[in-house]
Symmetry: C2
Subunit: 284 residues, 2 copies
């Protein structure tokens, strides 16, 4: 997905939010905002939102040497999600269509997103909404067939906490799964530590993509990961960041997400709040 | 009120919104956003949000030669408000405290703000909410006393359509009123044409401030207006723009507004949605 002009204000907001997250004082916030303004004036054309978001967050990291600024919030998300784990498992066990229920739960988990709201949403209310909502884009039938044909799944994680919901889906799949987290901290995206805290090593092989950018920007990923990616017969990609970078990555890729911003809503053609299960197109 | 860092994303959003309002194509929107980014990098310290907003909107005007881009929306606002006029008058007539009711209605009218939402809000729902809400800042008693002592009122208008609600308040005051509109188009702010369409000339002397900036930036106003302003015993100032420019303009000034953005909410110390009736402080 290309970057829209409407993303520019959002990048500034993210720069400020991240700066505050790592405890920047007024002067530091001002300097970071100034650098972000300069960056936005010289964007390479065709860059996706995560590529620019990555550059914006790098400004904050370089100025603040912050380590993992979202660590505490990520831990809190994982704990909140783990508390729901038995109820999520019970929902799948009681469902006439366990795959659909597990897919919906994995999408429900995508609401854990501090990049946008800075607050932990009411998780269970989201679970109930997403279980009941019609898919705005519904390629579940195609995914079902692709899962039947595939001998393994590459699963691209999004946020910490959401990982627990992904685990429920993976435990439903009955296929070997490689679960891919970020190679370093970026926003509240899951790193290896977050995947392990959510118990993913009990149901999947956890690897990282060698990159600390949001989404999946292949040219920034490690060669190891790119090999795994190239060989994967079926890829489940979670969240807006992966949608933004992989929406045209071809029919092996299935994007599972909630639409959280008006720009992505316009790109997908479905309103904010929509539940989306979408097979990627091939690049034009 | 000073400009907060949180205002920066909002200025970009306003630049885009105004550019689209005048029909800018993608390339023009991109150029306008680029100029806005450059402007934000060189802000004079101490500038109020309306001063920066003014500079941002000037970029749009200079690129697009747009005349009055909000003309159609302003006309629509005035018509929508005029349709409510008889009901507003009836509310005041039936009230045990006509002044308070009329003040509340004038504040309710402040919801007509395309700068923020681009959509006409449900006016009557807002009227009922503002009639029932406690004042988050309540200097009504001071205003009442000041009105008893004053021989005339200077009334600084905000948006078109809101003008109709102001008219109801002015008709309740029983004092000579000078109603001040903008000297040229800026956002959906009322100009002379909008005041006349709302019938203000039947209850007040309508003048303009000689400036096409939002709020009341005295150094940009005409000398004539500055003389009238200096001599006024009591000033009613409507909306966020006037609050941002006059919140420290001294105890002659009473700001009537709804809090619509988190930055002003923090400055006033009351949440978004609050109904505010606040006497200005003296400059420090």
């Amino acid at each position: 997905m290309r970057t829209y002009l409407d993303c520019y204000p959002c990048f500034l907001r993210q720069a400020l939010s991240a700066a505050r997250q790592v405890g920047a004082n007024d002067e530091q916030q001002h300097a970071i905002l100034g650098e972000a303004l300069a960056l936005l004036q010289t964007l390479p054309s065709g860059a996706t939102p995560p590529e620019i978001g990555y550059a914006v967050h790098r400004i904050v990291r370089e100025r603040m040497e912050g380590g993992d600024p979202y660590r505490a919030l990520k831990d809190q998300s994982t704990r909140a999600a783990l508390a729901l784990y038995p109820r999520l498992k019970a929902l799948v066990a009681a469902s006439p269509d366990p795959l659909e229920t597990a897919v919906r739960l994995s999408i429900a988990g995508n609401i854990i997103d501090f990049a946008l709201s800075d607050e932990l949403a009411d998780l269970w209310a989201t679970v109930e909404r997403v279980l009941a909502a019609p898919f705005a884009v519904d390629d579940l039938g195609v995914l079902r067939a692709a899962l039947d044909a595939a001998d393994r799944v590459l699963f691209l994680a999004d946020n910490a906490g959401e990982t627990v919901f992904d685990r429920v889906l993976i435990e439903t799949l009955d296929l070997p799964v490689i679960y891919v987290v970020k190679g370093g901290p970026t926003l509240n995206d899951a790193t290896r530590e977050d995947a392990l805290a959510a118990g993913l090593e009990t149901c999947a092989t956890v690897i990282d993509n060698g990159s600390d950018a949001p989404g999946t920007i292949l040219r920034l990923c490690s060669e190891d990961f790119r090999r795994v990616y190239a060989a994967a017969p079926l890829i489940i990609a979670k969240g807006q960041g992966n949608y933004e970078t992989l929406s045209e990555a071809g029919p092996r890729v299935f994007c599972l997400l909630q639409v959280k911003c008006p720009v992505i809503a316009r790109d997908i053609g479905a309103p904010v709040g929509s539940v989306v299960m979408r097979q990627s197109y091939s690049p034009l």
